[in-house]
Amino acid sequence: MNDVNGVALGVFIFFFLAVTVMGFMAARWRAAENSQNLDEWGLGGRSFGTWITWFLLGGDLYTAYTFVAVPAAIYTAGAAGFFAVPYTILVYPLIFTFLPRLWSVSHKHGYVTTSDFVRGRFGSKGLSLAVAITGILATMPYIALQLVGIQAVLDVMGVGGGEDTNWFVKDLPLLIAFGVLAAYTYSSGLRAPALIAFVKDTLIYIVIAVAIIYIPIKLGGFDDIFAKAGDALSQTNDAGKPRGALAPGEASQWAYGTLAMGSALALFMYPHSITATLSSRSREVIRRNTTILPLYSLMLGLLALLGFMAIAAGVKTDNPQLAIPQLFEDMFPDWFTGVAFAAIGIGALVPAAIMSIAAANLFTRNIYKDFLKPDATPEQETKVSKLVSLLVKVGALIFVLSMDKTVAINFQLLGGIWILQTFPALVGGLFTRWFHRWALLAGWAVGMVYGTWKAYDTPSATQKHFGNTTDIPGIGEIGYIGLTAFVLNVVVTVVLTVALRALKAPDGVDETSPADYRADSAEPAAPAKRPAAAAGTTDTAGAASGH
């Protein structure tokens, strides 16, 4: 274990305190008159413009775990880990086509979650419940992984404690960080991460810009870095297989492509992505954002290259998650190490806050209101959501503290496979009403079971279970399990829809109309969910700053 790095820790604490103050002040930022409404707490009043949405989505999607895990994957296996870049390239043309429709119909009917939409579109509480539970299940380990990101930084700074310190001292810094996060999320809702995202992203951009110039100079340029990394990756292990390569070989190209595609399809099925999207002011804001969000992907690509730098710099660690924090510690002067670690630490707080809000909204709207208390008032909804956001975080904390880190990572991998299975109901539903609700439910179930079973059955690089790529049946190539499960899901859905339509199985009531999917912010929103006064202020704000 490292000694405590005092300067780095000081800088880290400074930034942490700064964002804590911001988090609590956020409650008053752009506040509405009626704060006891789930639209206010859970969606920031649906009022965010282009730039706030950009920071919020960027802070939400490119999480601390991403920043640690992507270069860690490169550090471990070389080229295969770079699939995160094509994945984030493909996300934007994809969401360009369907998110504006989701925004419009949600605006029109006051939907807060994807399950709200699915229930309204297909008139099926069962299908909506399936989507909600999948969302919550997939989000929990994701929150846990944000904690893993903070832990990695704390470990390298030497405040994680050694093997021999007792668990309380060891985990105290993490408990404090999470306690603070929970408190300001509770009081400020989505406004807190939106405001903190400004700090997080600014820090991250500075750190990456410095790292990508400063470290290669210290290591003798990219030629040297890749020569050394190429050598290290071609070393064979005990089984005679090389660790990785600088470019994927023939055999691993399908895996690379399907991982990129499957992950791109899955990203905007996650509740936290949708929460950040629905908080924007208009469908224009979303489309505009698909053209400026790729700046984050560029940053992610540069960051991934740090994995090679860690190899070239001779960073040796048993836990690849520590490779990048360790590289920073080795390369940067202490004060800048502190800045870099603050960037990662705060980078964990923003998505963790949004994820817990998103999971809480799902529970409140689609389990509590639909099944437990149908006559809940907006005030009660907000109250329940706030409480559940706390519970979700405590759950994630227990997850991380009581179980091995690999458990969280395994579940996150499963979460990606699971959440992808909600795609047919959500995106399919946005474009057509042809799919039958029961067929969608059956397809979802088949995809969930197949994906879970296959992932469990597949060995990964380091363990016997929970690999993410295996043979695609009938094609003879290696591919991403989530995508195979998704294709199976679609096939089952289509076949059963044909059958159910032939049998004239009862169809649910569709409360939406085709025009709803093109509605813009100028048109009146759902009167029941949004008081006229609040809607009025939002729209004037929109007109005033709409450029």
């Binding site: 360009f96 429709r101 489309r287 790729p294």
Partner: protein
């Protein structure tokens, strides 16, 4: 996928919609055809082709999405004006 227009108003497939479609599909073709870029040479400032080529596609796809955005917005405005008249 293009949005379907109400029956009897305008053609569903217009030249600008075709361009929008192409702009949105191009990144998929480029990125999923992994074999076209899975190689080390030529390098750029010492960075293997595999990496700089994919990173080059980030701004390229952003520009393509931006073109799609401009075209969609223009068409929506045109349709709104048409509706007013």
């Amino acid at each position: 996928m293009p949005e379907t227009s109400p029956p009897g108003s305008r053609p569903v497939i217009t030249p600008s919609r075709v361009v929008v479609g192409l702009c949105l599909v191009a990144p998929f073709v480029a990125m999923l055809w992994v074999g076209s870029y899975a190689k080390v040479d030529p390098t750029l400032w010492g960075i293997p082709f595999f990496y700089w080529y994919q990173m080059l596609w980030v701004p390229v796809s952003a520009v393509l999405t931006w073109i799609a955005y401009v075209l969609v917005r223009r068409e929506q405005r045109a349709r709104k004006e048409g509706a007013v008249r």
